[in-house]
């Protein structure tokens, strides 16, 4: 039991977790029918990629990998603000959030 406790975690597990999170985000993007949930799946993909950035920063003791994650967070915040504003505008024009019924570019 003590050998199990002191065992170290290979970095490849972290990378696998980030790949699985990214894939779950893609699946959510494909199967979800609600505009907001589709947007949340994009955030899930961003988080999966961030985890692999942090893992590689740990591998090479590189601070710049973590700074990259910091910038991704900033861009994700800006993207969420603009994206949710677009969702509000779409809802005002169509009165629906179902992506199947938002199928025209014209109002």
């Amino acid at each position: 039991m003590s050998s199990f406790l002191s065992q170290e975690v290979p970095l490849s597990w972290y990378l696998l977790l980030s790949a699985v999170l990214f894939s779950l985000g893609v699946v959510g993007f494909l199967i979800k029918r609600n505009l907001i949930t589709v947007f949340m799946s994009i955030e899930l993909m961003l988080n999966g990629v961030n985890l692999s950035f942090v893992t590689f920063a740990h591998q090479w003791h590189a601070v710049k990998g973590q700074i990259f994650v910091f910038f991704v967070m900033m861009v994700a915040a800006a993207e969420a603000a603009v994206g949710l504003a677009i969702i509000i505008a779409v809802f005002r024009a169509r009165a629906t959030l179902a992506v199947d019924r938002i199928d025209r570019m014209k109002l």
Partner: protein, 176 residues
């Protein structure tokens, strides 16, 4: 200890992500996304990224998800109709996801030279180290980010503003 923490929080993270896909109400999906982001913050701590763990909780778990839940409540979003994707998604999307995941997993598992995660004074990145690089070598990108945020604020206000004039304006335009 590291192994147990990793297994517990990676498990919570995966469970939250799968729950996001299974829930049909957006607010439940949003709450499980908060679970995913918070457990990712613990994983960042295990990898020695102190500042990012705090920023993950504050920016992602706090600011962005509050924005999401706020919009869900503002728009009174109900349950979504349950369809399992379009025909294109079934025919191309899911096989593509499986192939991408398999390729990435194969590459990772055969990668040489990947170390193990361990916490010591040399592997923990303190906020001081991070900010030293950020404010000396990468000052220009950091300042450009502030302009990006400013533009995003202006764009969000312009997009979400309720235009009282627009019905009249469009009526005039069609009248001409």
């Amino acid at each position: 200890m590291h192994l147990i923490l990793f297994i517990v929080f990676a498990g919570i993270c995966l469970a939250g992500a799968i729950n996001l896909l299974l829930q049909s109400h957006p607010i439940n999906s949003a709450l499980s996304l908060i679970v995913v982001m918070t457990s990712l913050a613990v994983l960042y701590l295990l990898l020695g990224a102190e500042f990012l763990a705090a920023a993950q909780v504050i920016v992602y778990g706090g600011a962005i998800m509050v924005l999401f839940t706020f919009v869900i409540m503002l728009l009174n979003a109900g349950r979504e109709a349950r369809t399992f994707g379009s025909r294109a998604a079934r025919a191309v999307g899911f096989p593509a996801v499986v192939v991408i995941l398999a390729v990435i997993a194969t590459v990772i598992l055969h990668a040489q030279g990947l170390g193990v995660a361990k916490l010591s004074d040399s592997t923990i990145t303190t906020t001081e180290e991070l900010s030293t690089v950020l404010f000396t070598k990468l000052l220009l990108p950091f300042e450009v980010t502030s302009i990006l945020i400013l533009i995003a604020i202006l764009g969000a206000v312009a997009l979400a503003r309720h235009d009282d004039e627009s019905p009249q304006g469009s009526a005039e335009r069609t009248g001409k």
